[in-house]
Every structure is written in C-alpha cells, then in structure tokens.
C-alpha cells in the first residue's frame, strides 16, 4: 500500500515553512565545498566525485523561488560516519554533514580522514511544498588516514519516466576529475582512486 501526502491547508503551510527553513540553510551543515588548498583544514581530505541522473531531471520538474535557485539540479547526499541506513523520511538532523552535489558537475568537499557512509540521495523538487525525490545509496566511501584526496567516481542513477530508480552505476571519470582537480589544487596533492561499490536498486527509504 502506497502512502501519499494529503496536504490540508494547515499542513501545507507547515510544509511550506519547513521547506523554506530547509532551503534557508537550517537543515544542518553540509560538508564544506572547497576550491583551493587554502580552504582545506589540517588533516582534512578532499573528496572528489560526481552524481548524475539519466535521463536528466528536466528544468520544468523543479520549481524554486528566486532566493532558492541554488537548489535546482542539486542532489543532497545524506551521510554519516557509520553504516546507518535511512529507514524513514529524513528529519532536519539527517541533513547535517550532507554533500551538496550539483548534478553532472564534479564536486570537491573537505572531509575528515575516516570512512563515510552515504545513506541516500535527496532531490528537492520545489520550495512551496517541500516535495522531494529519494535515491538509493548505502555506499561506503573509503577515506583513510593519510589520504589527501580521494576520487569516488560518478554515481549514475538511471531512472524511468516515473522517477523509479532502475539501476545505479558507478562510472570512472578519473582522468576528467583529475584534470579539474589539478586546476584547482595544483599537481602536488595525490588524488587516490577509490570507487564506491554500486548497490542493487531498492527504495531509498526501505
């Protein structure tokens, strides 16, 4: 049996306020995106990767007010330090330590030198109802002490017309990512390749 949202006028207002709160940055702190070595803390590791959705999410599928345009075409990867699958609709605290990944673009974020578990991907569809899409994950990112930079690959979500995820593929675009990495951080820092292991398609909330 499928559960669907039934938005009463009041709960719609609450949802709208929650959505505004979420997109206004109150939904926990994301992992810090970095563009140069100066922005990377002592002992921190630069995590490099990319997320794509195939076929891509069409611009008309998302709707944001002028203040929240940054959320268009952006997937939020919910992470934790330990294996902790997402078993229910995420609450604001679950967004703490997330990775904000603009779809199709290589991301560079600073993380602590320890393994990271990706619990699920979330794509916000609008900021008036807070409607979201969920993407399965359950990935272990192999970040080790001593690492300076780790490349995790391209997480490619293949979907059908109804946004059901049919397959998750991990692509290796190391050469392209490595070139972008060198442009930002120079050639002195070693980028170690440690691709994530793909999971079988399943509901992200199961």
């Amino acid at each position: 049996m499928l559960t669907l949202n039934h938005a009463l006028r009041q709960s719609a207002s609450v949802l709208a306020v929650l959505a505004i709160v979420f997109v206004a940055g109150c939904a926990g702190t994301p992992r810090t995106p970095v563009d140069s070595l100066k922005e990377v803390g002592n002992n921190q590791v630069i995590l490099v990767g990319r997320v794509t959705v195939v076929p891509p999410v069409h611009a008309s599928e998302q709707s944001f007010s002028v203040f929240n345009q940054a959320w268009a075409n952006r997937m939020v990867l919910l992470t934790s330090d330990e294996k902790r699958p997402l078993t229910a609709e995420p609450v604001l605290a679950d967004y703490d330590g997330r990775i904000d990944a603009d779809l199709g673009k290589t991301f560079f974020v600073a993380v602590d030198p320890k393994p990271i578990y990706v619990r699920a991907g979330v794509l916000l569809l609008n900021d008036h109802q807070g409607e979201r899409l969920y993407f399965p994950a359950g990935f272990q990112l192999s970040v080790r002490p001593g690492d300076k930079a780790v490349y995790i690959g391209t997480i490619e979500y293949q979907r059908d017309d109804f946004m059901n995820i049919k397959r998750v593929r991990i692509g290796d675009d190391f050469d392209k990512a490595s070139k972008e990495f060198k442009e930002k951080f120079g050639g002195k820092v070693a980028l170690r390749k440690a691709l994530v292991t793909p999971q079988q398609p399943r509901n992200a909330q199961e």
Binding site: L4, A7, V17, V21, D161, F162
Partner: protein
C-alpha cells in the same frame, strides 16, 4: 519561530510598499492582494495545455476514486505529464462527478495523477497530493486510444499529532471500466465528439 518571522517579513513588506498608516486599510489591501495572487495562481493552473477534442492523436484517460472516507469529495484534479518533459505538465481534469475523472485529449506520453481538490462546508478546502515518485497511478500512453487508470478507494493513514495528514489509495474492482465508460458517454462534450463512437466500440469489446 520560522512562521512568525515570515509573518513579520510579510507585514513589514506590505507596510513599506503601500505606505499606509491606517491599519484597517492595510488589512483590506492585504486581503485584496491575497485574492489577486490566488486568482492568478488558479488561472495559471486552470489554463494548462489544451487540444482539439477530435484530434486523432488524442487519448482518453479515465478512472475513479471513492472519497467516502476522505474529509471532502473530489471536485476536480490534475494529471501530470511526466514524459516527454513539458513546460506545462499539468492537465486539468475539470469538474469531477461522483469520483469519476477523465481527460479526453491527452497526447502520447507518460502520466500519473498529481492531485485532487475538494471542499466541504465545515471542513474547508482540501488538497490531496500524489507523490512524483512511486505513484501507483503511473501509466504510459503509447498510442492514441482509451486508457483505464483503474478504480481506487481513499484510505486514511494514521499519523502522529504533529505530522501532516496522509492517505493511501487502494485499487478496487468497482466501478468497472464498462460502468465508467457508460457514464462518460453521458457527458455533453463527449457525446458530440469523435469519442462517442470509440467508446461504444470499446464497450462492445468489453461485453464479449
């Protein structure tokens, strides 16, 4: 706290923009502006895409929702075109009669129910939104024809005090496709359109 802040912002913005000192005038203007905003929104939704009802590439999509256990009846709704991508993806289902919904001029594509709405005197206006993902009403319209989305029943889902209301829908055997098509044939626009003959032909098929 967030809602209060939002109200504060709205209030100050209104006061600043219209530069009125008398409180009742501000209130009247706020009400008027709200009504205009709602009208614009409703017009934008209601306008949706349109086509000639007799276009040979049309498909007729129809179904039924039993809202007996819902706070209100379903007075209308929208079906969402999810493929091919469109700048105007919401097709207006028009006025609904006793749970029957249909749309007679959909182009080839993929669709799913997006929302129903209704109102009741003591319970006010309600909207019933279907999710974009995992929607059980998803259907592909591959070639022009008649497509039955199914009959469903609204079922309330228990939630916590602070949670928003939720519902689920369950597929039911009744009304049947033939019963619903017979009812659609009574529609004034359908009677006069190319659909009348096609529906009759489909009813004959179903009786075999």
């Amino acid at each position: 706290v967030a809602k209060r802040k939002l109200d504060d912002i709205i209030s100050s913005s209104f006061t600043r923009n219209i530069q009125l000192s008398r409180e009742n005038e501000v209130k009247r203007l706020r009400l008027l502006l709200s009504l205009v905003a709602v009208s614009v929104l409703l017009t934008a939704c209601a306008s949706g895409p349109t086509r000639d009802i007799n276009d040979p590439t049309n498909s007729l999509l129809f179904g039924y929702i039993d809202m007996e256990d819902a706070p209100t009846d379903a007075d209308g709704g929208y079906i969402q075109q999810v493929a091919p991508p469109s700048e105007k993806p919401y097709w207006n289902l028009g006025g609904m009669d006793d749970g029957l919904f249909f749309h007679p001029f959909l182009p080839v594509g993929a669709y799913q129910l997006s929302s129903f709405y209704g109102s009741a005197f003591f319970r006010g206006n309600h909207e019933y939104h279907f999710p974009r993902q995992g929607n059980v009403t998803a259907i592909k319209v591959g070639k022009p024809g008649i497509y039955f989305l199914g009959s469903y029943k609204y079922t309330k889902v228990k939630t916590g005090f602070f949670e928003g209301a939720k519902f689920s829908i369950e597929k039911t055997d009744k009304p049947t496709e033939a019963e619903l098509l017979t009812k659609i044939l009574e529609d004034r626009d359908i009677k006069k359109s190319a659909w009348a003959e096609k529906i009759q032909a489909r009813l004959k098929q179903l009786k075999k």
